[in-house]
Assembly symmetry: C2
Homo-oligomer: 266 residues x 2
Amino acid sequence: MAAPLLSKKSVCIVTGATRGFGKSIALTFSKKLPPGSLFILLSRNSDLLNEVANLVQQRADIRAVAAVFDQSSNNQDHFNNIITDCMSNSEVSPTDFEQSLLINNAGSLEPLEFLRDLDNIADISNFFQTNLVGCVALTAKFLQLFKPSVINSRVIINISSLGAISPMKSWALYCMAKAARDMMLKVLASEEENVRTLNYAPGPLPTDMLNTASENTKDPDLKKWFEEQLAQKTLVDCDDSARKLIAVLDKNTFENGAHFDYYDEL
Amino acid sequence: MAAPLLSKKSVCIVTGATRGFGKSIALTFSKKLPPGSLFILLSRNSDLLNEVANLVQQRADIRAVAAVFDQSSNNQDHFNNIITDCMSNSEVSPTDFEQSLLINNAGSLEPLEFLRDLDNIADISNFFQTNLVGCVALTAKFLQLFKPSVINSRVIINISSLGAISPMKSWALYCMAKAARDMMLKVLASEEENVRTLNYAPGPLPTDMLNTASENTKDPDLKKWFEEQLAQKTLVDCDDSARKLIAVLDKNTFENGAHFDYYDEL
């Protein structure tokens, strides 16, 4: 049987770490990983980064370093340096760890339009810049830094969605990006040694993104569904979903590159 | 039983129409569609456009209009005007036709790199601009012009690939874009009335793209496979594949938004 994936001293990089599910992952994982593990918390939101870093470091044997990261950036240096700068600032190197984790959580939702209305080149371009381009580049930089020769366990999690495998009316760009990101990890799983990858769909979560969904979804039936979920408080708790992800990683029997949903049986 | 999809007087828009499979679709479909149909041939390659238009118009009762189209453009006017300009130049309007077809064939292949080497923001961005952004915008413009109120049959074909559903080593961007474009038509199929959409994987074709694949694919096993296909001439003929697509559209029993491969049984 494969060893549980969160049992090794790890460097754990989380994008979009200041809010919603990213924050839940950072806090929940920080209670799970062994002493000496380091969290690299990345987010556009500089105000909240230190707050989340402090929460992670409530465990005295876990460290956290935070950095402002804009996944939509077209500045090459930003991607070249973001992880290595965080490592240097923490005075650690990749060989100080037994495992590296990258949680590709950052993403955006809008524009939420029917495909017939998605004619604005700049809007579409910005969407894919944030959700695909930056995600690919950061993942490449992660793989370059944590080479198989310096670390023998690498884990990459993509925060996916039901929309990656099932079309949602008036959510074309979101579904397209999620499908593409799922495929990214499937290709990666076929290419790399010493890597475990998983596309995890966390269920409908009570985040800012869900508020946006319930306000701005154009398809009336889907909009109503989001409104009802909000009103009836039937959404999945972020921490519960993060713990389900931990259980999946603990069990470590998933097919490399698989799509796994919160509601799937473990 | 549903009526065959190519039996109506149509306006048929083909992107990437000057070479390879796009050219085959234009020529093969031109022999199939009823008199009075109009082809709108789009391509970056201005030299070859008139040549293909002339070949299409070898049938006296079929017209063709050609225009230079750059799917990677970030010029909004380019997308706003390309189809309407072609219609105006041909002195026709959407109501002159019983059916409109859009064949989203244009796309690019490189950079062909392992994911760990895909760290160049500009390269990744350009790739998705060509393969996703322009494709979404052109499709939206098509849907706006050919509204259900002016035409009661609309057909959108995405030229897909096995890579849309099955990961290919060192082809991450290509597989991601193809997966996203498949999803685009799945969402579209759920959103629109009077639309039939199909993701068609044409099989390995002896095109310029396949030469590039056999020369530049980084994964040695996959590179060898392409080289062998080329050497043994076991590739699928472009016209054969276009005729298989016609057979699928004639039968017209596919699930809306489905992925259909050349090798699938009809």
